[in-house]
């Protein structure tokens, strides 16, 4: 009887674990979003279901499952149901290449260390860019297939916004690429371990954010625009478009869009951590707790995401386009040139 390599079992189960964790993280994020919204608006937030309202996401899920699935008569049935599936798939897929912990033997269970990463692709950075660029289809198709004017307007707005900010997003990735000289996320993260000693006394972590702070800023702004979060939440601007591209969706197909939005937030933050914030490394702290440091950084970034939503008002649409094309993109191109010049001079 052929023996099955335990490492293989571990890697396969890792896929399942990451998939489930991302789903659960969406539920946890919804809870925290509502709690933080409550604090920001000086009210309590959900507190009825379970202690401190902790079971509220569960109640939401049950409600969504038991709602009636509606489809407009004039909608294109195929594309109407394909759209939310595409949205959710692209949201989950990008996380596959992110390293979220150091190689582990699972406390000695495995005979060799296995990296905590679903797929170590040598062009991981491009994979992320490719999957992000595909995220647009779900929203455009939802807008078109619903055959409703609000949904169509929302879908069109969203695609214009995502195409505009994708350029800056790619440029921000390029600035990291110039520094790191590799496309592999694992190598990129490994490069960021350790500290620099400035003036021999002040330690600064070897994170890319200190090498290209402008790149990090551009990445984060473009990332918020790509995930359609406030202050760039035009696709679903309630006051103008009812609910934008998912106006006609209900029940679980709406839940898939909802899930996709939160999983996208997690993925964009996780990529930001891997590219700019040292991945699972923390200076002076043991690397073996890598997963913990990764989750800590993720929590901080996600908090900033939610904090921004309840603090900043939405831009006007022309302001959004103006900012994307006339400010952010030139800044991003200049940043790549400046970074390349710096690498040539010092590097």
């Amino acid at each position: 009887m052929p023996t099955i390599d335990p490492v293989l079992i571990f890697q396969i189960s890792l896929i399942g674990v990451v998939f489930l964790t991302l789903q659960i993280s969406a539920a946890v994020l919804v809870y925290f979003e509502r709690k933080i919204a409550g604090w920001a608006q000086d009210r309590v937030g959900p507190n009825r279901v379970g202690p401190l309202g902790l079971l509220q996401p569960l109640a939401d899920i049950v409600k969504l499952i038991f709602k009636e699935e509606l489809r407009p008569k004039a909608a294109d049935a195929w594309l109407f149901y394909l759209a939310p599936i595409l949205s959710a798939t692209t949201a989950f897929a990008a996380f596959a290449v992110i390293p979220f912990g150091p190689p582990t033997t699972l406390f000695g269970l495995l005979d060799r260390p296995v990296p905590l990463q679903v797929a170590d692709v040598n062009v991981a950075l491009l994979v992320i860019f490719a999957i992000t660029s595909m995220g647009i289809y779900g929203i455009v198709l939802a807008g078109w297939a619903s055959n409703s004017k609000y949904a169509l307007l929302g879908g069109l707005r969203s695609s214009a916004q995502m195409i505009s900010y994708e350029l800056s997003y790619g440029m921000a990735l390029a600035s990291v690429l110039v520094i790191a000289n590799t496309l592999s996320l694992r190598e990129l993260v490994d490069q960021q371990a350790g500290v620099w000693w400035v003036f021999g006394a002040i330690p600064i972590p070897k994170w890319n954010v200190f090498l290209t702070p402008v790149g990090f800023f551009i990445y984060f702004v473009a990332g918020i625009a790509e995930t359609n979060r406030a202050p760039f939440d035009f696709p679903e601007a309630e006051q103008e478009l009812v609910a934008g591209y998912h106006t006609e969706y209900s029940s679980m197909s709406f839940a898939l869009f909802f899930l996709a939005e939160y999983v996208n937030m997690v993925t964009v933050s996780a990529v930001a951590i891997s590219l700019f914030l040292g991945g699972f490394y923390m200076p002076f702290l043991p690397d073996s707790f890598g997963l913990l440091w990764f989750l800590l950084k993720l929590a901080v970034l996600l908090f900033i995401y939610i904090w921004m939503r309840w603090t900043l008002p939405r831009y006007r649409y022309d302001q959004l386009m103006d900012f994307g094309w006339k400010r952010l993109l030139p800044l991003a191109i200049l940043n790549v040139l400046a970074t390349a010049a710096g690498v040539l001079y010092w590097g």
Partner: protein, 171 residues
Amino acid sequence: MDAALFYLFAAISVICSLGVVGQRNPMHSVMLLIGSFISLAGLYVGLDSPFVAVTQIIVYTGAIMVLFLFVVMLLNAPREDLAPGGQVPIPRNLKVVGGLLSLSMAGMLVWALSRLAPTPFVEDPQAAARVESVREIGLVLFRDHAFAFEVTSILILVAMVGAIVLAKKTV
């Protein structure tokens, strides 16, 4: 495993491509074409060249097909339904010529494919590393084939200018 994945992606690609020309809703055609491109990317991964696969997705699926989708969506392209008043009758001699042409095309394909010598898989790790390495691809593209690369880009530019000139006359 490799062979199974190859046949899977090849089958998806062929079925999607047939679907693109085989049905009448242009939006569905666009989506099927995207499916075909993605399965092509899967085939490239099977050939040990993830870089080409990812470039395929970024360029075709991420950029060009979005443009296609927009054009189809914004022009509100109708279904390619039959012309009013039923099917337009095709003259008999045209049918004969068309049949002969497609028969000769099929014959040519069979002849060409039967003469094809199958290339065996090369199990050379160094060759695989050469194809995989983005650095190698960049060096070959921008050093050995720099002239061809630049000429191609100028050709595309000329085509773009030409398209704009042609379109402007009619507006």
